[in-house]
Every structure is written in C-alpha cells, then in structure tokens.
Amino acid sequence: MPRMQTFPDLLKTLWQRVGSMSLAIILLVVLSIASVIGTVLLQNQAQADYLQQFGPLWYWVFRSLGLFDMYHTWWFISMLGFLMVSLTSCLWRNIPKMLKEMRTRKVPVSDKALKRFQHLHEWHLPAGVGVEALQEAFRQRLDGWEFKASEQGGNHYLRADKGRWNKWGYILVHAAILVILVGGWIGSEYGFRGNMAVPEGASENEIDFLQGTETGHLTMPFYVRCNSFTIDFFPTGAPKEFRSNLTIIDHGKEVLTSDIIVNEPLYYKGVRIYQASFGDGGSDVTLKLYHLDGTGAITTAKTQVYETWTDKKSGVSLTLTDFKPYNVENMADPGQPKDFKDLGPAVIYEMRGPGMNPVKIKAFMNPFIGPDGDNRGSFLMVSSTGDKADYKALSLGIDLTNPNEWRLFHAFMKHLGEAHKRTQDSARAAFQAAMYDVFGRDKAKWPKNFQAMAMRTLQAVRVLPSLQWPMLPMLVDYKQHYYTGLQLAQDPGMNIVWLGSAMLVFGLCIMFYMPHRKLWLVIRPAQGRMHISLAGMVNRNHLVFTKYFHDVFTKLDQDFGEIKS
C-alpha cells in the first residue's frame, strides 16, 4: 500500500524522480527516436509537395503534429525543456553531496567496512616493524597521490587519493548540457539567420528566412552591395571557389569593402555574412530568332534572364529562366573514362505560342564540336515536360552561327521542292543549285569544307521541317550578371554554446580518464603481530585499477619484505 503523502512530499518525490538516472535514459532514447522522424521526413519543403506526396489525410495528420518543421514544434521543444528540468534536478541534488564528499576524506575505516572493499590484500608481519617505515614505503610507491593519515584506537590509517576531483567531471558534463541548451535558446530567441540575394551592382538590406512554414523578412541596419561575383574552376571543370566582393553601406556611407568566400565570412556590427550560393542575376542576352515558316527570316530579341519576351506578330513568348556561361558535361560513353568538356554558354527558356505545346529549351551559343574537331552543327536540349531529367539533345544539323548555312538550307529546300522526283541525283542537283545561290558559280570561291556543310544541311532537312515550333531562338550574345547568395546571421548565444562545449569535453575527459582511486594502508597491531591491509576502491575503470592494485601490492610486498629483514 502506498503511504499517504502530503503535497510537499509528493513534490519532493516527483523532483527526485525527475532527476533520476532511469529517466535520463528514457529521455535520451525518446529524444533519439523523435529526432529520427525529422531526418526521414524532409523538413521545410513546399506545402504543395507534401500534399502531393502524402495525400490529404496524412498531410493533415503530419501537419497538425508539426512534422514538417519538427524541431521547432512545441512538443519537441518541451522535451528539450524537460531534459533541462531533469538535469537541473539531478545537479541540484548531487552537487552538494559531491562537493562534500570531495572535500572531506574520512580516513579511518571500520573492520567491517574493510572486508567489503573491492580490492583487499593482507600481510601479517612480526611486531616491532616500524609503522613509519611501512607508511613511508607506501608513500614512496604512490607518486602523485594525496595522503591523509590518522590514528584511532591504536590502529594506523593512511589514506591515499588520486583523481579526487573526479566528480567535477560529472558536474561539468551535466552543467555543460544545460549551458548549451540555454545558449541555443538565446540564439533562437534573440538571433537571426536568413538569406539575401544581391545581383552584381545592386544593394540589399533585407533578409528572408523560414518561419515555420512561412517566409519571414527582416531589415538589416545596413545595406550590402555586391560589386562583383566570380567563380574559379578546377581544370576538371568543377567549381573551385566562389568569391563575392562586397561593400557595406551604413547610413549612406561606404564603411567596408571586402571579399568573402565559402568558409571565410565577413563580420560587421555583430552580423556575419557568409557566401552561401549564387545564381544568375538577370544577365543581358541577345537571341536570334530563326523563323521556321520557310521565309528564312531572322529577327533579334534583346532581353534579360527572368524576363518574358513576346513576339507581337506571332504571339510566341519566351520566358528566360537561367543563363549559364559554362556547361561542363561528361562527354564519354557510359563505362569509358570520363571526358569533361565545356559546351560553352547556354540560355534556358520556356517557349509558348499559339498552336504549340510549351517546351523548355536550353539553347547553346556554339555549335557542337566532335572529338575530332568536326563541326556537328548547332544544337539544343529540349524538355517537353519542363523537367530537368527529361532533357534530350536535339541536333539541328546546320551551324547557325554561320549565316550562310541558314541560307543554304533554305535554298536547298527551295530547289528540292522544284525537283519533280526525289532521287539521289535530283538532291545532288538541288544542292549544287543551292550552293550556286549562296556562294556563286565559281567553285574556287566555295568554302573548303563544303562537303561537311552538305552533310549538315542534309541533317537539317531531316530535322527542321519536323519541328512544330514557329521559330528557333538561339543565343548569340550575352553580358552576364550574377547574383550572390548571402547568408546573414547573428547569434548572441553562440559563445555560450562554445563555453558549454568546452565544459563538456573537459568534463568528459575528467570523468573518464581521471577516475577517483582510493587506497588505504591500515596497520593494526594484534596478538603480537601486525595486521596490515591494503584496500582499494575506484569509481570506474575497474580493469585498469585491478591491475594497478595488484602492481602496488607486489611492490609493497617487496618493500615490506626488505623492511622486515
């Protein structure tokens, strides 16, 4: 039957339970399991993606539990809070006890207590052996130990301690966790962390950050201007370094100009500014539009990335989504050694128009040059779904950077149309006629590589008329502007966290590597003999201590043997 408890008693029991080690184990395991959820379920994605992934029911369940931003839900935070309460409780109860135990070292041990020691050895020496000599031998053998002697009822007790401050390890470790959690809380309460995208040449003073599932904004007390952004590449084509040249503008005054790279942030007025990402900051691009209506017309469009350009006449619109000056691709066949090649600048746009399916196109500025240096004509990457994975290369055949090839293609089409029958001969004749049209009758003035040109034109004849689009927009010129993606953060709790971390590591080292070892040399004269006991105790790491104890015993055995004789 549980005893009746008064309310304060109940509180006291509860307080003890909260600080008990079993609860610590349970808390740690439960926190671990809870943490797993957040790593399996991608956090802070777009809500629409979740809805699609889980369906309405589970979406609603997960959302109500806050699983899409789990580490900030009330229940997760409460668990951390509970951990803090638990830690406080165990520290509160243990610290006074431990401090007292560390300070006062009781020297005499009763005979009964002596029997209960983990490690115990005895000698029986004849009376008359000097107690001092024995104790001195003991002291000599224990280098770096602290001694305390006492005499009681004719018995001589000598106690030796090593690692007497071991319990400080426990205190430091557990207090450290509290300190770290407090530091983290201060950081999340009074700090901020957000992103800012600054196009080259522009300034910005607002950061965006995720607040649960929404985006929040915060205005900085200064502006950041991005003067330039550059990327360095390894010879393999992989990016080596992202570098932004930034100027801080505080109250209209330029106060600081500096470069930042990944791993080397800038620090201003308590705010750290990190290089986080980059992207196109609205590059100027010029497109040539090759009309596919058979007229051979070419028009140009000057626009910018992120803009939509509309052709008034045909109603075709181009939405530019990105520009990349380098496009390094592995050109080797699968299984072959890798062969990285830069395909040159490319612009990505979505083309829409009356009577056509929208497509996403990555248009390269340069023709594709084969491994032998042969020109294989201009090309595009086309995705009909708009998905990146669906890009398929489309070789256009002719090299559109050479205006003659575009003309040649049209002349050839015209002459081919005039022929009555399509045969090898008529095609050859049509090609010759087309060459006459474009390059004149004097064959000496024809380009040397006209055979290759003929091959390309034949390919174009196969490809171009089958395209359903009113025009082919190709990249001809650009002026690139990047934006630099910066992360700005201020964390007033960070130093507290580092303090806690130092305490944690320091405390763990004390706790594990400086166990509190205690040895007693008890000398009891009785019945004309001397009963000598060596007793030992350790609070952890018994394996080592067992050996050590045995070692001390052997050595003392020698010493005592010498003293006796």
């Binding site: 983290g184 990016p239 990944v262 986080a276 594990f512 790491n541």
Partner: protein, 413 residues
C-alpha cells in the same frame, strides 16, 4: 607493466620515462607549430598547398621551432617537477605518434615508386602507387581477420602473433597509403591537392585503420585476443565495402568542393572516425560477450572458453572502447558545429547528418547511464553496444545513401 621491471635494450630505453616524455613534448610542439603556421603564418592556410607548406622550409621552421619549444618546456617542467616525466599521458600517446612518424616515412618511401610524371593522368588513376598499397592493406586486414578466427579454434600463440602483427601491418599500410594519396592529389595539378579525408572511399580506409588501432591498443593492455576475431571481421566488412566502392569508380581523387576547403575538415573528420572506430570496437566486444554467453549457456568448457576474456572483462572492454569513443565523438561533433558556424552561418541546422550524430551521441550517452544505473546487466548492455554500432553505421553510411542534406558530398552517386 611496472616501472621497476628492468627491461633492457634500445627499445626499452626509448619507451622509458624521460625519453618518452621528451619525444612526446617534441611531437606536441611540432603539431602546435604546424597549427600556428596554418593560423598565423605568411599566406596562412591554403587548401591546395597545405601538404607542401608543411614539407617546405617554412613548415620545417614552424614545426621545428615548435618541437624545440616543446622540448624546452618539457625540460623546464621536469626540473620544476621531477615526477613529471613519469606522466602516463606521455607513455600512452608517444607510441601512437611514433607510429604516425613511421607512416610518414613509409609514405615517403612509397612515393619513390610513383609512375613517371607523364604517366599520371587525372582521367585514369589506376596506376598510382597508393592503389597498390591499399590493395595490400585490404589483403592483409582480411588475412588478419582469418588468423584471429583461426586463433579461436586453434589457440596457438604463434597464430595469435601472426594475427596481431598482420593487423599492425595493415594499419601502417593503410595510414601510409592515405598520406601517399595526399601527395598524389597534387601530382595531377597543384590546385586539386587536398587531404585524403574528403570522400567515402578515403574515410573508410581511415575507419579500418583506426578501428584496428583502437582494438590493438586494448589487446595490448588487456590480453583480449579472442575479441580480435569479432573486431577484425567488422574491419574486413569495411574492406569489402571499400573494394566495392573502388570498383564502381568512387575511389578516384576528385577536387574538393568549396565548402570542404577548410582546415576544420582535417580535424573534424579524423576525430569523428576515432569515435566511429571505437564504437566498432565496442560492438566487437559486445559480440564477443554474446558469443561467450552462448558458449557458457551451452555448458561448454571448450578450449575456446579458456582464451576468451571473462564476461566481466568483455563488458569492461566494451565500456573502455566507448570511453575512448564518446569523448572523441563529442569533440568531433563540436568541431563540426564550429566549422558549420564558420562555413554556413549556424552551428546547428538539424541537417540529417548532424541530427544522426546527435542520435548516436544520445544512444551512447544512454548506454553510459545504463551501465551505472541498476537493472541493466551484461547481456543487455552487450546488445546495446551492438545496436549502438548499427545506429552509428547508419549515421556515417545510411545518411549519405538515403537522406539528403548539407553533408551530401559524401554521397554515393
């Protein structure tokens, strides 16, 4: 070992009091000197030249000064406190640093076998000498595992010795191969050069070596040879995984993405693997415990039982391994947080890798508490050590394979 046991000969002198102490101080000094060079030297730390910064005149001056200063401090210290040279720390750590020095020397020897400069190409790295050294390491680790297992069935001391020595050989081969790889990464192009702890293939070699080293340290002190069969089997599994990684083309030296170009990586990653390796050893001890428990339950008094450490000892060994791993892993996580604070703008982002590190940490934290508290006994704790390691494996492998996040450089592609 007792201080009074008179051992003679050169090696004995080398490992006695003053000499160990002086050497240890010199090593520490040299490391501090190199660290100071990275922090304060002219040009400071450059990712793509760090090895040669260390090996150059500059490194010699900084490191040498550090070593001399260390020796000086050691001498002053031992004059002021004559018992100082007997410090256990020096005796415990100096052999490890000696071993490291030997690896450096070995790696320099291997470097002589490197193919001629015009034979080296980034596209085909198969002719690099480190590949051969790593293959030798693989073979010898597996050989060691087989020997340890053979030792269980035929407890002849010479088989045990072969097992131990081959494990040592594997560590030296692996360690020197990694150092050699560091040098090789500069051979393609100075810009590509970086420390060999940047991808899964390299850290698995590190893991094998550290696991074996932690195990051998325990074996040497506690005569726990029977445990080797379990630990080295785990190492062999890692070896097979690494062979597989190489076979799918993940073993190549690749340039470092900007986020990894930091000296933090050189401290954070190896420290993490000290943790992982120790947890692997704890798992080995746990398995040995369960194995022995099984044997005893069957009522056997077989030969095998005689060479096995007792259940209590195995329990202590698992604890000992966790006691090495837990502080190391704690420190590694903190170093990771410090790096994140410098590179990403926040020390903690609840990124899957970070979170799993926290999970591993909490699991072993709970293990440590369970040891002290009542109600948990040997067998349950042995299972915990094994299960804890499974969680650890997921942390360093599963997270890269199944979960995405900021640590995705270690991804299998």
């Amino acid at each position: 070992m007792t201080a009074t046991t008179a051992e003679d000969g050169f090696t004995a002198t080398l490992y006695r009091g003053r000499w160990v102490f002086l050497r240890f101080a010199a090593y520490l000094g040299a490391m501090a000197g190199i660290a100071a060079m990275a922090k304060f030297g002219v040009g400071a730390y450059e990712e793509n030249a760090f090895l040669y910064q260390i090996l150059s005149m500059k490194g010699l001056i900084w490191g040498g000064t550090g070593a001399l200063a260390g020796c000086g401090l050691a001498i002053v210290g031992s004059v002021m406190k004559p018992t100082l040279p007997d410090a256990k720390m020096a005796r415990n750590f100096a052999p490890w640093l000696d071993g490291f020095l030997l690896m450096v020397i070995l790696a320099s020897v291997w470097a002589l076998f490197e193919p001629a400069a015009d034979q080296i190409s980034y596209e085909n790295q198969s002719n690099l000498f480190s590949g051969r050294v790593i293959m030798a390491m693989n073979v010898i680790f597996i050989f060691s595992a087989v020997s340890y297992i053979a030792y269980l069935f035929a407890p002849e001391s010479f088989i045990g010795r072969i097992a131990t020595w081959s494990a040592y050989a594997g560590i030296y081969l692996g360690g020197s191969a990694l150092l050699l790889r560091w040098h090789e990464s500069y051979l393609f192009d100075m810009e590509i050069g970086h420390a060999p702890v940047s991808n899964l293939y390299e850290v698995f070699i590190l893991l094998c070596c550290i696991t074996a080293a932690v195990y051998l340290a325990l074996e040497k002190r506690y005569q726990a040879k029977a445990m080797g069969a379990f630990v080295m089997t785990l190492v062999s599994a890692a070896v097979f995984f690494d062979v597989w990684l190489a076979s799918v083309g993940q073993g190549d030296i690749k340039p470092l993405v900007p986020a990894l170009q930091s000296y933090w990586m050189k401290i954070h990653v190896p420290m993490n693997f000290v943790g992982y390796g120790s947890f692997a050893v704890a798992c080995g001890a746990g398995m040995a415990y369960l194995f022995r428990h099984r044997l005893e339950a069957k009522g056997g008094t077989s030969k095998m039982l005689k060479i096995f450490p007792s259940l209590d000892q195995l329990d202590q060994l698992a604890y000992k391994a966790v006691a090495i791993g837990f502080p190391a892993f704690t420190l590694a996580t903190i170093l990771g947080a410090a790096w994140a604070a410098e590179a990403w703008g926040g020390y903690w982002s609840w990124d899957p890798k970070e979170t799993w590190a926290l999970i591993v940490w909490m699991i072993y934290g709970a293990y440590l508490h369970a040891r002290v508290s009542h109600g948990w006994h040997g067998k349950a704790l042995a299972w915990w050590a094994v299960a804890g390691f499974l969680v650890t494996v997921f942390c360093f492998l599963g997270v890269n394979m199944y979960l995405s996040g900021l640590h995705s450089y270690g991804r299998l592609s």
